[in-house]
Amino acid sequence: MATVGLNEVVKVYDNGVLAVQDFNLQIEDKEFIILVGPSGCGKSTVLRMIAGLESITEGEISIDGKVVNNVSAKDRDIAMVFQNYALYPHMTVYDNIAFALKMRKVPKDEIDNRVRHAAETLQLTELLDRKPKQLSGGQRQRVALGRAIVREPKVFLMDEPLSNLDAKLRVEMRVQITKLYQQLQTTIIYVTHDQTEAMTMGTRIVVMKDGIVQQVATPTDLYNLPVNLFVARFIGMPPMNTIEGRLGKDEAGLFVCAEPIGTDSKEQSTHAVDSVKLYLLPRYETEEVLAHLDRPVILGIRPEHIYMEPEDVERYSDTKLQVKAEVVEMLGAESYLYLKTQWDSNLTARINDQVHDVRYDDMITVALDPDHIHLFDYETEVSIIH
């Protein structure tokens, strides 16, 4: 049983920097938790506090119900994989993996067993006699993993372990780590800034920004129901498109009138003439949304939900708009269209096909899928639909 609990955890550095605020999280046994966010958001700090490498300013961290604030790192029964592997350069792979066991005075034959078993799991058996500098990046990472799994700890901590690998290796190692997770069936806490890793590997994801938790949810929920604009744009590649506008209502229903917010009134009135109205489905007329009538909002739409096929534009005529195509990128199975709206905003559309008949500066009409529209309060950036 290995649960990890963080209760109102705060971290302030000696120079006064507030790195982590009000961090609350209960991690169940066997979960694969991912802490994700941009650089400096505090995710590594949280991990290091769980590891015992950083002191905890306020709050409590407990492992398996026992508060570990004052327990030293080596007594917490955790193992950690570092971003730059942190292998002992003067020891062979075998000794690297065996080190922790030697420190705990495990009998020699048991050490041998466990090391060889771990090596086999990670296909390191032929490399046991080599030194780290003779290994490639991927091999080193596997040794770092081996060092961790041989300890059979309660919790695995991983601090951006794939960041130093090239793209191809990263994909391979991602798969390897996921397979390991399924094999070992332990709790893993994983830190990364790459949202792809987060989405593909975790059972639950914690999105952080500036030391504050933005949302904790499964990958699917994070993607479909982002709780604020930051999460919405952070998760998903290419990022979600945003259209500023004002919420309005007329005989035809609730709509968002697309207009740049924050310009002076003169410009606003000129645009008002050409303004585009994007109509929302009736189910969006909740109390919370209606409370935002005549107020500025941000409309979000993911690239795959912008359609350019005539049938779709026909079907979703209530949410169509004229745009200018700037760049077309064809990736084979799909294409990206980089579009510019009448009011000079950028939109990215993902089309599940090859696009041959659109050229630079072509004016085309696209439609947004009304079922997948997101709405955010302009000021707070909080999602107003659920």
Binding site: L53, A73, K74, F82, P89, M91, F99, M103, R104, R147
Partner: protein
């Protein structure tokens, strides 16, 4: 490169080598030529060959005593300085050790490197005199500690600082105690630096003259440089042969280091200074 240029370069290089090695050649020539030659007109090339001078060193001057003295003093001060200095520099670099004290330690170490030995030598001599210890080996060993400690601390601080910190954290999580981190993780990674500074220190001690002159009065405690310096004489030319022989022997450690550990030696020297 044009052949003419190459020839020119070759000539210059040869001249430079002659310039560099002539005194050493001369020393060797003095050491090996027979006594008959060591009279007024010394020829450029030795005309005879003998080991007599080497023999006389030991028979007449008890050279083996000086060798032993130099060795003992160097070895003891080096061992103490290494044990104590490495430990100290690790803490100064890695541990948040009462920040003010660290700055003061840096400063003091720099100061000791720079201050003239004579300023320490005379008072130390008088103090040891007062304590009735001046007939022992203690003063000179202490003096050598004064030379070697700052060097070792300063040098290893730089090397420890360049180690990746994640490795220590990893060891911490793996369950290593502080001592184990130091002995199993830090030290093994800086063995080359330790070798380099060890060699530098050894040479500084082995070659040291000023403190020896001031502290050592008893002839049977003389270190090598001191003994050699008593042998200079214009009257007795045969002494020159012994000086040459003694000189050759005094250079043996250097030769050993150069042949076997050139890389470490150069690394050490070029990181900022050999003490005179």
């Amino acid at each position: 490169m044009k052949p003419k240029r190459k020839v020119w370069r070759g000539i210059v290089t040869a001249l430079l080598l002659i310039w560099t090695f002539f005194p050493i050649y001369w020393m060797i020539s003095l050491a090996i030529r027979g006594n008959e030659e060591l009279t007024s007109a010394l020829s450029f090339f030795p005309k005879s060959f003998t080991f007599e001078h080497f023999r006389m060193l030991f028979v007449k001057h008890h050279f083996e005593q000086a060798l032993w003295n130099s060795f003992i003093v160097t070895a003891i001060s080096l061992i103490i300085a290494l044990i104590v200095g490495l430990a100290c520099s690790y803490i100064l670099v890695r541990v948040r050790f009462r920040f003010g004290l660290r700055k003061v330690s840096f400063f003091w170490i720099l100061l000791v490197r720079v201050l003239p030995p004579i300023a320490f030598a005379m008072p130390l001599y008088f103090i040891f005199n007062y304590l009735q210890l001046s007939e022992t080996r203690l003063p000179i060993i202490v003096a050598h500690l004064l030379i070697n400690l700052p060097l070792i601390i300063w040098f290893t601080m730089t090397s420890i600082d360049s180690l990746a910190q994640g490795i220590e954290e990893s060891a911490q999580i793996d369950g290593a105690s502080e001592w184990q981190i130091y002995s199993h993780i830090i030290l093994p990674q800086i063995y080359p630096s330790i070798a380099a500074v060890g060699m530098l220190s050894f040479m500084a001690s082995w070659n040291e003259y000023l403190y020896a002159v001031i502290f050592i009065q008893k002839r049977d405690l003389f270190t090598l440089p001191l003994l050699l310096s008593t042998m200079n004489s214009e009257q007795e030319l045969t002494q020159w042969g012994q000086i040459g022989a003694g000189g050759i022997i005094s250079m043996i450690p250097v030769l050993i280091f150069v042949i076997f550990a050139q890389r470490y030696l150069i690394a050490g020297l070029s990181s900022g200074g050999v003490k005179e």
